[in-house]
């Protein structure tokens, strides 16, 4: 059997986290509002309406280009991409073609301790389409509904070079990209809302060959796992075909996550000719060095540098990976900049308590009432010995749901830690006296009963005792 090298390229569309749409002043909240309520003549494509480029979107485009290590275009120029479909209300999409906002960049992926650079071909700005929903009425009649709230939402399309060679690297790249975009405030990348949409193309070639095989495109994915699985499936399927001497057909496929296989999508035979030409309604905008520098200064520390800093402060690579590859990355970074010495505690707090709240309540951290400010407040209470972890969990639960001040909750609920040496010594001695049986067992060599003793002492202190003090006093008495 021949060994084949998979050649994978990726295209990602993300909705930008702007206040307003790409070419009009309508609210950019396609998911929350009544259908067709965030619309105006421009995003409805009414005759006589004109576009005006949203400078916030251009700024985010510049930041994206910088964050992806791209060359930033000197001129921001838009073109019309012509094709017909009912969700494309003008019959053309305003996009960038000849001069994208960013090109020739890279993203570094981290596979354990191995780093690889994935080349970015281009990143360009464009507008989203309206949303079509197909329904069947009770009469049996099929109808299609059009919601133009999404029409004109700013999009950034990011295209890699075909230099990814495994399904796993493709997934790592997508996760890293998402973290970079969230970290820099470019997109919220909420997959379930379609804020990040994925496409991959894959071909196989005999190892050592420089030529490209026929491409299979995997369209419209909303999950990293599905992309990885679909790619892995295609690698296996295409290898089998090639081994049997059969040709691989160029195709566009979807992923059936239940049957766990790709399926060919019916598409029109002819290749699309989008007839691009410069958008006459939008004069080119010069992006001077000053503008780029202002954006660079407004950006947070790069994700790579942040990651290195966390490593240097002694946090494990695995813990960093857990948090950085998550929605919480921007939150983490903000919290760390509020409390630079507390990165370890913040990370522990996120992993220990916040992730389980996110999973349990099914609310992303950004939509909860927890903020980097009140999270840091809680962490500082723990680090200062004023509360213990049990209290931390309780306070976080309330902050997540209601917001507020950690210290106020601590005082109100009497969650403050008992650090009074006298009170602790009293309870330690009481327990040791009452459970002399356990003390004897311990002295006979059964070390595990120490935990039971500790638990009973903590219980008498209503869970609020300073664990370090209890621990050291208990040890001293048992040894003595």
């Amino acid at each position: 059997m021949t060994a084949y090298e998979p050649v994978i390229g990726i295209e990602v569309h993300v909705e930008l986290a702007t206040q307003t749409k790409m070419f009009c002043a309508c609210e950019n909240r396609p998911f929350e509002l009544e259908p067709n309520s965030a619309t105006c003549p421009t995003c409805l494509g009414l005759p006589g309406a004109l576009p005006v480029a949203n400078s916030e979107a251009i700024q985010l485009g510049i930041r994206a280009a910088l964050a992806l290590n791209c060359q930033v275009g000197e001129v921001c120029m838009f073109e019309r991409k012509n094709y017909a479909y009912p969700d494309l209300i003008k019959g053309y999409q305003i996009s960038q073609y000849a001069l994208p906002i960013g090109r020739n960049g890279f993203v570094t992926i981290h596979d354990d301790s191995i780093e690889k650079n994935i080349q970015i071909r281009r990143a360009h700005l464009e507008e989203d389409t309206a949303k079509l929903t197909h329904r069947q009425l009770s009469s049996g009649k099929s109808i299609s509904l059009l919601d133009c709230n999404r029409s004109g939402v700013p999009l950034l399309e990011i295209v890699t070079e075909p230099t990814i060679h495994s399904a796993q690297d493709a997934e790592l790249f997508l996760r890293e990209l998402r973290s970079i975009l969230i970290h820099n405030g470019i997109s919220r990348c909420r997959m379930q809302r379609g804020e990040m949409r994925l496409e991959a193309n894959i071909s196989l070639r005999p190892e050592g060959s420089e030529e490209f095989g026929p491409r299979v495109e995997i369209k419209n994915q909303s999950s990293f796992r599905f992309v990885r699985e679909a790619l892995a499936y295609e690698i296996a399927r295409q290898s089998d075909l090639l081994d049997q001497g059969q040709p691989v057909k160029q195709a566009t496929v979807g992923w059936d996550s239940e049957a766990r296989r790709t399926f060919e999508q019916r598409l029109k035979e002819e290749a699309h000719d989008y007839r691009y030409f410069p958008e006459p309604d939008l004069p080119p905008i010069e992006i001077g060095k000053d503008w780029i520098e202002r954006q660079r200064r407004a950006m947070p520390e790069s994700l790579d540098s942040f990651r290195r800093r966390l490593l240097q402060s002694g946090i494990s690579a695995a813990d960093i990976h857990t948090v950085v590859m998550n929605d919480t990355v921007e939150f983490l970074h903000q919290a760390c900049s509020l409390y630079p010495d507390g990165a370890g505690s913040i990370l522990r707090c996120l992993i220990r308590d916040v992730f389980s709240l996110v999973n349990e309540k099914k609310i992303p951290i950004g939509d909860s009432n927890l903020t980097p400010v009140n999270l840091v407040e809680v962490v500082k209470l723990v680090d200062g010995g004023e509360i213990n972890f049990a209290a931390q969990s309780k306070i976080l639960q309330e902050l997540f749901a209601e917001g507020g001040s950690a210290e106020a909750i601590m005082k109100r609920d009497g969650l403050g830690q008992v650090s009074d040496a006298g009170a602790i010594a009293f309870e330690v001695d009481q327990v040791l006296q009452e459970r002399s049986d356990l003390v004897e067992q311990y002295r006979a060599g059964k070390a595990a009963v120490r935990n039971a003793l500790f638990g009973q002492i903590m219980k008498r202190l209503k869970g609020r005792g300073d664990p370090k003090q209890i621990d050291s006093l208990l040890q001293k008495r048992l040894d003595g």
Binding site: P41, T42, L44, G45, L46, P47, G48, A49, L50, P51, V52, A53, R80, N82, A84, P86, I89, K90, G91, Y92, L146, D273, R275, Y276, F277, P280, D281, L282, P283
Partner: protein
């Protein structure tokens, strides 16, 4: 005060109203009565909004009584029907938009309303402004008031006919390749195509977005200067509209041309197919400027001859995209087909006329992969050369005097099977749109008993010099609409 109120100019009407001799209600009634009595003969209007006009007139009179009158308060105006008016049907003379009532006002409509002008109705044009005779209107052909067997020109034909016959006091047109200046010349009125960006296109239904420009069509040069000031200015919703302040175009308009340099392009008079009468009218205008004390400077526009081929690549290219939104799904007249694609095909097949389809096909072809460089790209380069020609010529003079059209108003149906010859007749007007420069058409004589104008071309944003030079000519000549109306043999029925 003149008796035939409907033939008043903006200035005459405003004077009569401010001195209390006339109310807007009376003036509007008179204009509506004129429309009522002769509109069937001339066919300027697609929609007349008589009730709305009377209501606006009453409000204009209140505005004047409250001391808030502007130069156009209470003055009846008509609007080319490719400029959207909130609540008032806007068809673009297309069957596809026969029932389209826009939910918003174009910037210029908002400005006119704010200034208290009375919008009488919407005028006929070639469908989506594609044409130069109104014969491509999806509804009917307008008539030239000076000979109803002839076209009024186009595409802003209705907006030339209405002021000429007294169906309004002034009109708003839109010019993509001569659509204001050519019908103005054919109907004997003044037409101004401002600098691209001077008047906002917000609400102007795009034909070719990089060429379209709204402008006034009036009975006198002074009226055009007054009207342009009302409609010009920046619109934040239009990225192509200029933020330059709008000057008072009347300021210095009577300054004459003594000491001004008027550019003249002798080679243009050798253009193939040019009517000897047009040559004569243009030469006479040159002589008139000499007599008025202007210095005539000969200049050349060597690339102007390429403007037709350039225009008929770039314009259809933009058309092919601009027409794409008309699918009958969200607005407009839908014709159901077997499936979605069938509905598209039937709606557009039945809704669009021949010329629109022709331009969509030409444009889509010119933009296709493999042809883009040879057509669109090359045309864009030639456009730059044409603009440079004008710019170099205008370095040597203050304004250029040129013919507007190679021949006067032609017979209805004369070119119906010869589109190419009709395209060639745009030779003198297209260049300005390609270069984005302002042009003013002023009545300058008669050819075959039909009105014939000349065109003044200025530097970008220098409409002022055009009005000044145009006014000097108008004051001296005997070809203005008022003169024509006064000459009894040419009195309109």
């Amino acid at each position: 005060m003149r008796a035939d109120l409907h033939h008043m100019t903006i200035e005459e009407a405003a004077d009569a109203m401010s001195s209390g001799q006339l109310s807007s209600v009376e003036l509007t009634e008179s204009v509506l009565a004129r429309v009522e009595s002769v509109e069937d003969r001339y066919k300027a209007y697609i929609t007349v909004d008589a009730d709305g006009a009377m209501e606006q007139a009453r409000r204009a009179d209140e505005m004047r009584a409250g001391g808030r009158a502007t130069a156009v308060t209470g003055v009846p105006v008509c609007i080319k029907d490719n400029i959207v008016t909130r609540g008032l049907r806007t068809t673009c003379a297309s069957k596809l938009l026969e029932d389209f009532v826009p939910p918003f006002d174009a910037t210029i409509i908002a400005k006119l309303r704010q200034a208290g002008a009375v919008i009488v109705g919407k005028t006929n044009l070639d469908e989506f402004a594609m044409g130069s005779s109104t014969e491509n209107s999806g509804f009917f052909t307008s008539r030239n008031p000076w000979d109803v067997s002839r076209v009024p020109g186009g595409s802003s034909g209705g907006s030339a006919v209405a002021p000429a016959y007294g169906g309004c006091i002034f009109a708003i047109g839109e010019d993509t390749g001569g659509s204001i200046r050519q019908p103005a010349s054919f109907c004997g009125i003044v037409g101004c195509k401002p600098t691209y960006g001077r008047v906002s296109r917000w609400g102007s239904v795009a034909m070719a977005s990089s060429l379209d420009q709204i402008g006034p069509m009036c009975k006198t040069v002074r009226d055009a200067a007054i009207a342009l000031r009302v409609i010009a200015g920046h619109e934040p919703k239009d990225a192509t509209s200029s933020t330059r302040p709008v000057p008072d175009y009347l300021d210095g308009i009577e300054g004459g041309v003594e000491g001004l340099k008027i550019g003249y392009v002798p080679s243009l008079l050798d253009t193939e197919g040019i009517h000897p009468g047009v040559v004569e009218v243009t030469e006479n205008a040159r002589k008139a400027y000499e007599d008025l004390g202007a210095e005539i400077v000969n200049v050349e526009l060597p690339n102007l001859k390429y403007s037709i081929s350039t225009y008929y690549i770039l314009c259809p290219s933009e058309v092919s995209a601009n027409m794409a939104r008309f699918d009958g799904i969200r607005y407009g007249v839908e014709h159901r087909g077997e499936d979605m694609w069938g509905t598209y095909a039937r709606t557009r097949g039945l809704g669009f006329g021949q010329e629109v389809k022709r331009r969509i096909i030409i444009g889509a072809f010119a933009l296709s992969a493999g042809y883009y460089d040879a057509y669109y790209q090359k045309a864009a380069k030639v456009r730059t050369l044409i603009a440079r020609d004008f710019s170099e010529a205008l370095d040597k003079c203050d304004a250029i005097l040129m013919p507007v059209t190679p021949f006067p108003a032609f017979k209805i149906g004369e070119f119906i099977d010869n589109t190419l010859r009709l395209y060639l007749a745009d030779i003198f007007t297209l260049g300005l749109n390609l270069a984005g420069l302002p042009g003013l058409c002023v009545p300058a004589g008669t050819v075959d008993n039909m009105p014939q104008g000349v065109q003044l071309v200025g530097r970008a944003y220098d409409e002022k010099i055009l009005f000044q030079a145009g006014r000097a000519f108008e004051r001296r000549s005997a070809h203005s609409l008022a003169h024509r109306l006064a000459a009894s043999k040419e009195k309109l029925p």
